[in-house]
């Protein structure tokens, strides 16, 4: 999952995260992107966070576990 790769550098807002995933994997639409977000959240690999301005962002739930998962699912950016 490229989402996991992008999140290894730290938490990001969804807009920034989508831009990073597109840099890594080319054309990724918003529907595909949120499908990936929902799956990763369901797998407890990422978690949502909200900053002071109410903007939603995501981060890896556990850096070590998530990093392993990212390596294991490499190019399947759903």
């Amino acid at each position: 999952m490229w989402v996991l790769v992008a999140l290894r550098s730290g938490p990001h807002t969804v807009g920034r995260l989508l831009d990073m995933v597109r840099e890594l994997d080319g054309r990724v639409g918003p529907g595909t992107f949120y499908g990936a977000i929902a799956r990763l959240e369901r797998l407890a690999l990422i978690e949502p966070v909200t900053n002071g301005s109410g903007r939603r962002a995501y981060r890896l739930l556990g850096q070590e576990g998530a990093g392993t998962a990212a390596a294991g699912t490499g190019g399947a950016s759903s």
Partner: protein, 242 residues
């Protein structure tokens, strides 16, 4: 684009709709985005477990605004009933309603205040205008201005709270009509002397308290960030323009 999001299942929309729409609004739309949004909706319907509730552990601090609104609504409603049925006429003015209104106001701040500063400024400006004009106006008009200021205050607070609770525009108007406009319309016969003022005079305030109970429950269940929630990592400010 918001119409396309309605293609997604309700559970998915509860969880992701707001941030999904915010993401789409932040960047130019392409035909591919539309196609991919529809594709994502099909995927969400085929995999309903993706939108199962309870995925997001909501911090307990997110419940504070809802609990405050709920407490204020209960305090208001209980006190209205208490005054209407249990307090002797003329002894009503040691009222908790003022404190309930303060708690309602306290439930509003946080990041929300910054996001809806314009609406708040309009409400405060209208209240201030009523106060100033009521001091300058002839006495015949003063009572009308005082009533207008009162309606703007309680209606404004209810509107802002319902926006914070994520209640849509149509439902918000229905709530305002049911909890403020209709009760006051029912009070007109008493105000102009057609009907004697009795127990019902206080009960016109009851729907307003119940509306806050409704909003408080919704806010407490859904969660809402508060002023005590610390900002995320500074990297959050790093949002590139679309």
């Amino acid at each position: 684009m918001s119409r396309l999001v309605r293609l997604y299942p309700p559970g998915w929309r509860d969880r992701y709709e707001a941030e999904f729409l915010a993401l789409l609004e932040d960047r130019p739309r392409t035909a591919w985005d539309i196609v991919d949004t529809v594709r994502g909706a099909v995927d969400a319907h085929l995999n309903p477990q993706l939108a199962a509730t309870g995925l997001e552990p909501s911090p307990w601090t997110h419940r504070i605004p809802g609990l405050l609104a709920l407490a204020a609504g209960l305090m208001w409603s209980a006190h209205v009933v208490f005054i209407a049925f249990l307090v002797a006429p003329g002894q009503e003015w040691g009222s908790l309603i003022v404190y309930a209104a303060v708690v309602m106001l306290v439930s509003l701040p946080g990041d929300y205040m910054a996001a809806h500063g314009r609406q708040i400024a309009v409400v405060l400006g209208a209240i201030g205008a009523c106060v100033i004009l009521s001091a300058l106006a002839p006495w015949q008009i003063q009572s009308l201005l005082i009533i207008a200021g009162y309606l703007i205050t309680i209606g404004g607070m209810l509107t802002l709270a319902s926006i914070r609770a994520g209640i849509g525009s149509g439902a918000r108007w229905r709530l305002l009509v049911a909890s403020i406009a209709l009760p006051f319309a029912c009070a007109i016969p008493m105000a102009i002397g057609i009907q004697p003022i009795g127990v019902g005079a206080w009960l016109i305030l009851l729907p307003y308290g119940l509306a806050w109970v409704l909003i408080g429950l919704r806010m407490a269940i859904r969660g809402s960030p508060t002023i005590v929630d610390p900002p995320l990592n500074p990297i959050e400010s790093e949002v590139r323009p679309a």
